[in-house]
Point group: C2
C-alpha cells in the first residue's frame, strides 16, 4: 500500500532549505514566486514564516505550458502577479511537485518576460522523477516514487498542508 508522506513535515524541511538559500545571497535581492496553485500556497506560507518583505509572486502558467492545446485553460482564474523587480534579482521558484519539468520551463519563460533574473533556484516539496526535460530542483524536501497513472497534489485545510493521490486525468 502506497503511503503519502506528511506534508507538514516536508514543508518544515523545505522551509529550512529555503531559509538557508536566502542567506547565501545579498540581503534584499531574493524573492519568492510560487506556481499556482500548490506552489503559490507554499510561497505564501514560506514568505510569512520567514518574515520576508513585500509579497511573494504568483505564476499562472496555463498559457505557457507546451501542452496548452491538449489540456486547455485550467479553472485557475488567478492571474500572474510579480510584485517585485525581476531584473538582476535572485528568484526562488516554488512548486509542490516536480515531475516532467514542462511546467518549470513554462514558468521560466514567463519569468523572463518580466526581466532577466540574476538566478532562479527551484524549490519543491516533492520530486517524483519522470523528467522529460533537463530540469532539476536544488531545494527539495523529498524524492517520492508515485504509482504510474496517479498524481500527487498538495491541498490545504486552513493553514495545514496535506497531500492527496488522484488518478491522472485522461
Amino acid at each position: 500500500m502506497f503511503e503519502l508522506p506528511n506534508a507538514e513535515t516536508l514543508y518544515q524541511s523545505l522551509q529550512a532549505q529555503v531559509a538557508e538559500a536566502i542567506t547565501r545571497k545579498p540581503e534584499g535581492t531574493v524573492y519568492l514566486v510560487g506556481i499556482l496553485s500548490g506552489g503559490a500556497w507554499l510561497a505564501e506560507r514560506l514568505h510569512r514564516d520567514l518574515e520576508l518583505a513585500g509579497r511573494p509572486g504568483v505564476l499562472n502558467i496555463s498559457l505557457y505550458r507546451d501542452d496548452f492545446d491538449r489540456i486547455g485553460l485550467h479553472h485557475q482564474t488567478q492571474p500572474t502577479d510579480i510584485p517585485f523587480p525581476v531584473n538582476g534579482n535572485h528568484l526562488i521558484l516554488v512548486d509542490d511537485v516536480l515531475y516532467t519539468g514542462r511546467t518549470i520551463r513554462g514558468a521560466l519563460n514567463e519569468i523572463f518576460d518580466y526581466g532577466r533574473p540574476a538566478s532562479v533556484q527551484l524549490a519543491v516539496l516533492i520530486d517524483r522523477g519522470g523528467r522529460e526535460l533537463p530540469v532539476a530542483a536544488s531545494l527539495c524536501a523529498t524524492q517520492l516514487e508515485v504509482p504510474e497513472g496517479q498524481n500527487v497534489a498538495l491541498q490545504r485545510d486552513g493553514e495545514r498542508f496535506f497531500l492527496t493521490l488522484e488518478d491522472a486525468h485522461a
Copy 2:
C-alpha cells in the same frame, strides 16, 4: 596548479552513457542535437561512433540567449539545422560545458520552435557548477571546479578532442 582532464577519456564516458540512454527508448525515436560549437562536434562524433541513422541536429542559439544584448552576435555563422522530426521524439541535447544553464534554456526554446519533443535529455562533457537556472544534465562525463574568471572549452585537432582554459571575456 589546475589541471584539465583528458577530453578523449571524458568523451568515452559520455559516449557510453549516451549509448545506454538510447537503448532505454523505442528504436528509431532518439535523435542527437548539438549546441555550436563544442556540442555540435560532440554530437557529430557520437552520431558516427554510435552508428546512428541520418544526421545529428545543430543548434545555433546566439539569438536565443537572454544576454544577447550584452554579448552580441557570435562569430558562429553556421545556422541551426534540425534534420529530423522533433514532435513526439526523444532528443539528446549535447553541449561541451554546463555552467549557468542559460544556454540550455535558449536551446530548449529553440527546439520547441520546431515541435514538442517526447523528451529532452541533456548530455555534457563537463558540469562546472555555477548554475543560475534550475537545469541539470542526466548524462555527464565529469564534474569539474573551474577557477573563477576562466572558461573551459572544447577544441578539436582533426578528430582528437582536447580542452583549453581561457580568461572569460569581459
